[in-house]
């Protein structure tokens, strides 16, 4: 019986990155041998065990055979004759298919080290094509390692495209797709996730609302980058510099989907794209089972981002209406998320990357004024008959008062 460190731990070690989880493979053992050593089995039909002390994952070397379409249509064979090379062969990318023995020797039958130094994401074997989830996983690795220079190998892109064309990608359950998307968004380069999916034509299957933005022009005066898809990628980059909160990144990704639905005859104008985007977001949220918090923030940013840019909020009533829509009184944390997504949008434009965004402090200041009122005490003191109207009036007055004291700087909107 031999034990090897495999997968991400070996890869990250070779890249000089911190190691998060260690996965181990056991070769030449039977299930009972492992249980006898005190390991606890995880699940029933899957040969994975937890180490009695470290609680790290140990798996019996296994082979896989495709039996049905989709991500789960596999049977495993994990008998003691399965070799390390066989086990590594069923893995997705060569950089993830390197093993390290207990003596520190590297076993690298698919030249993962070569691809690590060449910064290439390359599939291990044609069996790659059997699991459609791998399309999303490769895109997610791209999002994670893009900044280190990693790119998808052309032949791997080709095989990903085959998966898309086979229709298998569409068979993935929405929870899995969402899970991959959410992880990718919080990765270092979320824009690379979108680019890689687009290169293999998967974007139109997974996120058709975003795919539709590529090739849609915007006014060059406000958007020197012109293409709405490019703008979206730039926004994601800027958003990621501001935050790693996947809610903010999701809202950024989809803030302009309405521009894919505007009248072509009126291009490059996208008047009304804010409201045109809302039904598209609903469809998207229902399809991917997007969690409510994500969907709500995305809808808010979609509907209101241009109002904040244009500072159409120097009117206290409009400003308060927006603060109410954000529900800043019950969900104060949502305001900052909204503001960061709007800021990412303003900066996600060629030449605007380092531009100040005074709108953020502006709306924050108004929100602070509106939330500072001791509503409970005021109601006690005045016992108004219509509490809702009374409270709104107080908040309106507080916002108005603050507006008199701040003069927002001039700014180019979009």
């Amino acid at each position: 019986m031999k034990i090897y460190l495999v997968g991400g731990a070996v890869r990250d070690k070779l890249l000089g990155l911190p190691i998060k989880d260690r996965d181990w493979v056991i070769v030449g053992a039977r299930q009972q041998d492992i249980l006898d050593l005190g390991y606890a089995q995880v699940g029933n039909d899957f040969p994975v065990f937890l180490h009695p002390e470290t609680k790290e994952e140990y798996a019996l070397a296994r082979t896989e055979r495709k039996t049905a379409p989709g991500h789960t249509g596999f049977v495993f064979d994990a008998n003691e004759t399965v070799t390390l090379e066989q086990d590594l062969a069923r893995r997705d990318l060569t950089i993830n298919a390197i093993a390290e023995s207990e003596e520190g020797e590297l076993i690298d039958p698919y030249n993962g080290r070569g691809d690590l130094s060449a910064r290439i994401l390359r599939h291990v074997s044609p069996a790659f094509e059997e699991d459609p989830l791998r399309v999303l996983r490769v895109a997610r690795f791209a999002a994670r390692f893009h900044s280190l220079g990693f790119r998808v190998a052309p032949e791997t892109n080709e095989i990903m495209r085959n998966i898309v064309h086979s229709g298998e990608l569409a068979s993935l359950v929405s929870e899995r797709v969402w899970q991959e998307l959410a992880k990718a968004l919080a990765s270092k380069s979320p824009e690379a996730f979108v680019t890689v999916l687009r290169d293999c034509e998967a974007l139109g299957v997974v996120l058709p609302e975003v795919d539709a933005l590529f090739g849609v022009p915007q006014p060059a005066k406000f958007h020197p980058e012109i293409d709405t898809g490019i703008h979206t990628l730039m926004c994601l980059q800027q958003a990621r510099l501001l935050s790693d909160d996947p809610q903010i990144l999701y809202a950024t990704l989809v803030h302009d989907v309405g521009k894919g639905a505007t009248n072509k005859a009126l291009w490059p104008s996208h008047k009304g794209h804010e409201t045109l985007g809302l039904p598209l977001l609903n469809t998207l949220a229902a399809r991917l089972k997007v969690p409510n918090d994500f969907a709500k923030l995305a809808a808010l940013v979609c509907e209101h981002h241009t109002k904040l840019h244009r500072l159409a909020l120097v009117d206290a009533d409009k400003a308060l209406t927006l603060l109410e829509a954000i529900d800043v009184f019950r969900r104060p944390e949502r305001l900052n998320k909204f503001l960061l997504a709007c800021e990412a949008d303003a900066r996600g434009r060629t030449g605007f990357e380092n531009r100040e965004y005074p709108q953020r402090a502006f709306l924050q200041s108004l929100a602070e004024a509106a939330t500072a009122i001791d509503v409970g005490a005021a109601i006690k003191e005045f016992r108004p008959t219509d509490i809702g109207a009374f409270v709104r009036e107080l908040r309106l007055a507080a916002v108005e008062e603050r507006l008199l004291h701040i003069r927002p700087e001039s700014y180019h909107g979009n």
Partner: protein
């Protein structure tokens, strides 16, 4: 015998005399009530004060923000800011005497008049009141300021009456903050919100009401008890929409007209240069 209530005179001595002539005002027989802001902005503050003081018991006044500012200037308690046309008044030999006379005047005046419609209560003040105040409380709070203004430590009051905060009245206010808030309601307020936060920057008329605010008289609770007479707010052009709340500043100093309301029959008289 008639009672004439005139709006903000603001040193417009000639206009005042013309108006009084027009209504055939007879000192000794008739009464002249002034809603405050007797001085400043206009050309003849000195003559105005001398004339009103010499009317003796025929004249009742309440102090406005400009009157308080003159007293503070005379006592060297005012901040150095803003334009004013008080130079001649301040340099006159009887400036101190006039300032001392003003210092004994109230911020709120209350009286009962035998009108054509029977006995009627009137309360006169320069600007407005807080939403919570009753008539009695208004008179008590006014008295607190008057005691400070007439007491030994009146300079401390004059020095600290300036400022926009605290923004609203509450019963727990103490000391100079309390006096400043009372003074701001009685001599400066135009707009406030539902709990009485004063909006002291807006001066425009009702068409420009700032969001969330209303004119103070939309919240007041004393006109059921006594009709209110006030000045200070020229942009209202004499209208409040409330029959028992009378706006009397009609902007004579801004080229509009000087208004007098005869309390006995409710008749309004006006004088303008044109």
């Amino acid at each position: 015998m008639s009672t004439y209530v005139v709006g903000d005179i603001q040193g417009c001595y000639k206009g005042l005399r013309k108006l009084l002539k027009h209504v055939e005002f007879k000192a000794g027989a008739d009464q002249l009530w002034c809603v405050g802001d007797l001085v400043n902005r206009g050309p003849r503050s000195l003559d105005t004060l001398r004339f009103l003081r010499d009317l003796g018991p025929s004249c009742r006044i309440v102090l406005g923000n400009h009157d308080l500012h003159f007293i503070a200037k005379q006592e060297a308690c005012a901040p150095r800011r803003g334009k004013h046309t008080l130079q001649k008044l301040l340099k006159s030999p009887d400036a101190q005497e006039l300032a001392d006379w003003l210092r004994t005047q109230p911020l709120v005046y209350f009286d009962c008049i035998d009108t054509d419609a029977g006995l009627q209560d009137f309360v006169m003040l320069h600007a407005g009141v807080a939403p919570q105040w009753s008539l009695e409380q208004t008179l008590e709070l006014s008295a607190e300021v008057e005691i400070a203004l007439q007491g030994d430590d009146y300079r401390a009051y004059l020095t600290h009456m300036y400022g926009d905060t605290p923004r609203r009245w509450h019963d727990g206010l103490e000391g100079l903050d309390r006096l400043r808030v009372i003074t701001n309601y009685l001599t400066r307020v135009r707009y406030c919100d539902a709990i009485g936060n004063m909006q002291l920057k807006a001066k425009e008329g009702l068409a420009m009401t700032p969001h969330g605010y209303k004119p103070w008289f939309m919240y007041e609770n004393i006109s059921e008890r006594a009709q209110i007479l006030f000045g200070h707010w020229a942009a209202l052009e004499g209208h409040t929409g409330k029959p028992r709340v009378h706006a009397l500043d009609t902007g004579f100093v801004w080229g509009q007209k000087l208004t007098a309301l005869r309390l006995e029959d409710g008749k309004r008289f006006a004088y303008s240069k044109t």
